[in-house]
Subunit: 130 residues, 2 copies
């Protein structure tokens, strides 16, 4: 609750929109929706999205090229994301699993690589779609 205040006008408009959706939104659908607020060009959207991703307010679902709000109020974890994605209805949920996070955080490869971020996407069928 310290960075929220410093968001710019465009960043606020776009974060608001994404937070109102419980599902990921695509950049050009966001653009369409915020045109009434005076945001006219893709670049204005992408600039805001990039910033919001950077500060952890939203996450990008890489396999879907879409953006979802982070619901975790303590989310310092733009750098450690896990999602479940239903391949039928495309429902996306962010997962916070302590044990899994631990395993991922502690993972070491055999090449001496220094990790600072990961993204994990699970795919399958949700309860409704099985």
């Amino acid at each position: 609750m310290q960075k929220q205040e410093t968001l710019s006008k465009n960043q606020k408009i776009i974060l608001d929109l994404i937070e109102k959706s419980d599902q990921p939104l695509k950049a050009y659908s966001i653009l369409f929706d915020v045109k009434k607020k005076g945001i006219n060009a893709p670049l204005q959207v992408y600039r805001a999205l990039n910033k919001l991703v950077k500060i952890g307010k939203i996450h990008k679902i890489e396999s879907r090229n879409a953006f979802i709000a982070c619901k975790n109020s303590k989310c310092q974890i733009a750098k450690a994301t896990v999602f479940s994605i239903c391949e039928s209805c495309e429902d996306v949920t962010e997962i916070h699993d302590h044990k899994l996070s631990e395993h991922l955080r502690d993972f070491k490869d055999n090449k001496g690589m220094k990790y600072n971020k990961y993204n994990l996407e699970f795919f399958g069928l949700c309860k409704k779609c099985v």
Copy 2:
């Protein structure tokens, strides 16, 4: 060693190219390279890529929109992929870690979702780039 034989002409051309590279290739760079072999259009490349991904011969690096050959000769695991990605030199390596695979395979969320696939991408700096 049973599906290799059934690959079509275009699929073979494109798999060969990707296998010769130890790093991920992008679709339009592949297109450029295979034009001399008579493949002229993006769709011809994407169709082959999609098939090769499906049968596990290659994987898509989602965060990079690029495709890398699977080096695991027993790879039935198009559906369980882990990569490390250097954010400086963009070097990508597929990771096969038994313990990590187990944790991921056994992961259950609290929503009763039925998983059949996952993709995990680690980001950081490789030894050379630290």
